[in-house]
C-alpha cells in the first residue's frame, strides 16, 4: 500500500510538473534549437535569446508595465474597500449580514464575459475605455468578494479582547485597529493581496475587451497570438507562469483558506 501511494504521488507530480519544466526549457532555448527536430528534453542549449526577443517585441514591455500597474492598483483599491467590509463582517452582528454575504457569494457565479462587454460601452461613454483605471475597476470588482470573505476570516482570528483592552487604555477605535489588529492580521492580508494580484495578472478576457492600446501582458499575448512565431508563444507562456510559481511558494500556508474554506 505504502509503495503504491508513493508511486501514485510520483506519477501525479510528473504530470503536474513536467509541463512546467518543458515550458521553461522551451522558453530558455535558442531560436535555432527550437527549430530542430526532435527537440532535446535536456537543457543542452540554454540561452536567453528567446526570452529577450520576446521582451523586446512591440507592446510586451508596455504590457508588462500595464499589468503591474493594474495589479498593484487592484490590490490597493480592493483592500481599501474590502478591509472595512471584512472587518464589519467579522466584528458586528448587523441586520442584513446574511443577504450581504449571499450577494458576495453570488457575484462569483457571474461570468466575467457578461460584465466586460457592457462595461466597454459604459467606459466608452465615461472616458474610462482603454485606460488602466477601467481595467483596475473591473479587476477590483472581481476580487472584492474574495477579499471581503478572506479578510473577515482573518479578522475573526484576531482576539477581540486585546482590541477592547487597547480602547479601555484610551486608544481610539481607529488607533486600536491600526496598532493591535493590523499587525496580527498582516500576514493574512498580505496573502489576500497576493491572491488579488494573481487574479488580476491572469485575467485576460476583460482586459482584452476593455482596452485597445493599453493592453495588459496576457491581453497583448492573446491579441498577437495568431501572427507570432512559436518561440514568442513559449516565451509568453513562461512569462505568464513565473508569478504563479512565486505566489504559490510564498502563500502556500493560506491556500486552503483562500480557495478551500472561504468558498463555502
Amino acid at each position: 500500500m505504502k509503495l503504491k501511494v508513493q508511486l501514485a504521488c510520483a506519477a501525479i507530480t510528473l504530470f503536474m510538473g513536467a509541463p512546467l519544466y518543458l515550458i521553461t526549457l522551451a522558453a530558455l532555448s535558442s531560436r535555432r534549437s527550437l527549430n530542430e527536430f526532435p527537440l532535446s528534453l535536456l537543457p543542452t542549449s540554454l540561452s536567453g535569446e528567446t526570452m529577450s526577443t520576446f521582451l523586446q517585441s512591440t507592446g510586451i514591455l508596455g504590457g508588462l508595465l500595464n499589468s503591474l500597474t493594474i495589479g498593484l492598483s487592484t490590490v490597493a483599491l480592493s483592500l481599501l474597500i474590502g478591509l472595512p467590509a471584512g472587518y464589519a463582517m467579522a466584528r458586528y452582528a448587523f441586520k442584513g449580514r446574511d443577504p450581504y454575504q449571499l450577494a458576495l457569494l453570488l457575484t462569483r457565479a457571474l461570468p466575467i464575459v457578461v460584465l466586460s462587454v457592457p462595461l466597454a460601452r459604459i467606459f466608452l461613454d465615461t472616458g474610462l475605455y482603454d485606460t488602466t483605471y477601467g481595467v483596475t475597476l473591473l479587476h477590483t470588482a472581481l476580487a472584492l468578494p474574495t477579499t471581503i470573505l478572506i479578510t473577515s476570516a482573518i479578522f475573526l482570528g484576531v482576539s477581540r479582547e486585546q482590541e477592547e483592552a487597547a480602547m479601555i487604555f484610551g486608544a481610539s477605535p481607529l488607533a486600536a485597529f491600526a496598532r493591535v489588529v493590523v499587525p496580527q492580521a498582516l500576514p493574512g492580508i498580505a496573502a489576500s493581496a497576493m491572491f488579488t494580484f494573481v487574479l488580476s495578472w491572469n485575467e485576460v478576457l476583460g482586459a482584452s475587451i476593455l482596452t485597445l492600446n493599453r493592453r495588459t501582458l496576457p491581453a497583448q499575448v492573446l491579441a498577437t497570438l495568431a501572427d507570432s512565431p512559436l518561440a514568442f508563444r513559449f516565451a509568453g507562456g513562461l512569462a505568464l507562469v513565473v508569478p504563479a510559481l512565486i505566489f504559490i511558494a510564498v502563500a502556500r500556508r493560506y491556500l486552503l483558506n483562500m480557495w478551500g474554506t472561504t468558498l463555502r
Partner: protein
C-alpha cells in the same frame, strides 16, 4: 440590532462599488442584447443563432464540461486521498500539485502548446521511441484537438477541486474512518461509505464553481487551436474583436450566464441531501 449603524458605514463602499460594477453592466448588457436602434429587437439573438460557429461552440463547451469534469473530480479525489496517507515528500508533491491554481488558462494553453505542437515535445519523444509522429492539433484531427484541450484543462484546473476537497477532508474526523476500519471495512468501503458522504458539501461547491469556470474557458483553446475549436466565450471575443459587434457578443455572454445559472441551480437540486 444595536450595532447596525457602524457596520453599515463600513460595508457601504463595497455595496456601492459592486452595484456600479455588477448590477449596472448586467442591466446594460440585457439592453444591449435586446435593444436595437429602433426599439426592442431580437435581431442580435437571431444573428447569433444563424452563425454556425455559435452552435459548434455550444456543442464544444458542453462536450468539454461533460468529459472534463468527471475526470477532474476523480483525479482530485484521488489526489486528496493520497495526501491523506501522508506520503513522503508530501510538501514537495503538494507544491507541484497546487501551482496550476495560479496559472491562467491562456498560460496553460501555451504550456501545452509546447508539448502538442507538430514539432513539440510529445512528437520529439515519440520520434525518439521510433513511433511515427502525429499532428495532434491539426483541424483534420478534431478528436486529438479536443483531447489536447481536455488534458490542458485537466492539468490547470484540477488543483482548484483538489484544494476544496482537501479543505473538506480536514473536517472529516479520522476517528470515523478508524472506527470503520476496526469493524473490518476495507479501504474502498471506507472511502465510499465514510469519507465521500462527508465530503458532499465540498464536492457540491467545487462542482458548481468548476462548471461555471469551465463555461468561461476559452484562451486555452485559443492558444492550442486558434478558432479551430471554438468555445462560447471565445465566440464573444470573436464577435467583439474581429466582427466588431458588441450586441451579438453580449447575446452570447447572456447565454453563458443562463447556462451558469442553470448549472448552479441544477446541482443544488440534484445534490440536496
Amino acid at each position: 440590532m444595536r450595532q447596525t449603524r457602524p457596520a453599515l458605514l463600513l460595508i457601504a463602499p463595497s455595496i456601492i462599488f459592486m452595484a456600479a460594477l455588477f448590477l449596472w453592466p448586467l442591466i446594460a448588457g440585457v439592453t444591449q442584447a435586446f435593444h436595437g436602434p429602433d426599439g426592442p429587437t431580437t435581431q442580435y439573438v437571431r444573428r447569433m443563432a444563424d452563425d454556425p460557429y455559435f452552435w459548434e461552440a455550444l456543442r464544444n463547451t458542453a462536450l468539454l464540461i461533460v468529459v472534463l469534469i468527471p475526470l477532474q473530480f476523480a483525479l482530485a479525489i484521488v489526489m486528496a486521498l493520497l495526501m491523506r496517507e501522508r506520503p513522503r515528500f508530501a510538501g514537495l508533491h503538494f507544491y507541484i500539485w497546487v501551482v496550476p491554481l495560479a496559472i491562467s488558462d491562456l498560460a496553460a494553453g501555451l504550456v501545452w502548446l509546447s508539448i502538442f505542437t507538430d514539432r513539440g515535445y510529445l512528437n520529439s519523444v515519440l520520434d525518439g521511441l521510433g513511433i511515427p509522429t502525429y499532428s495532434w492539433l491539426s483541424f483534420e484531427h478534431p478528436q486529438t484537438m479536443f483531447l489536447a484541450v481536455v488534458v490542458a484543462e485537466l492539468w490547470r484546473a484540477t488543483s482548484l477541486v483538489f484544494v476544496i476537497v482537501i479543505a473538506g477532508l480536514q473536517g472529516v474526523p479520522r476517528d470515523y474512518d478508524e472506527a470503520a476500519s476496526v469493524f473490518g471495512a476495507t479501504y474502498w468501503q471506507r472511502v465510499r461509505h465514510v469519507i465521500l458522504p462527508q465530503l458532499r458539501p465540498s464536492l457540491q461547491v467545487a462542482l458548481i464553481l468548476r462548471t461555471i469556470l469551465a463555461l468561461e474557458a476559452f484562451a486555452v483553446a485559443q492558444a492550442l487551436t486558434g478558432r479551430n475549436f471554438p468555445l462560447l466565450v471565445g465566440e464573444t471575443y470573436q464577435w467583439y474583436y474581429q466582427l466588431q459587434n458588441p450586441n451579438v457578443a453580449t447575446a452570447i455572454a447572456l447565454v453563458v450566464l443562463a447556462l451558469s445559472i442553470v448549472a448552479a441551480v441544477g446541482y443544488l437540486r440534484l445534490m440536496r441531501p
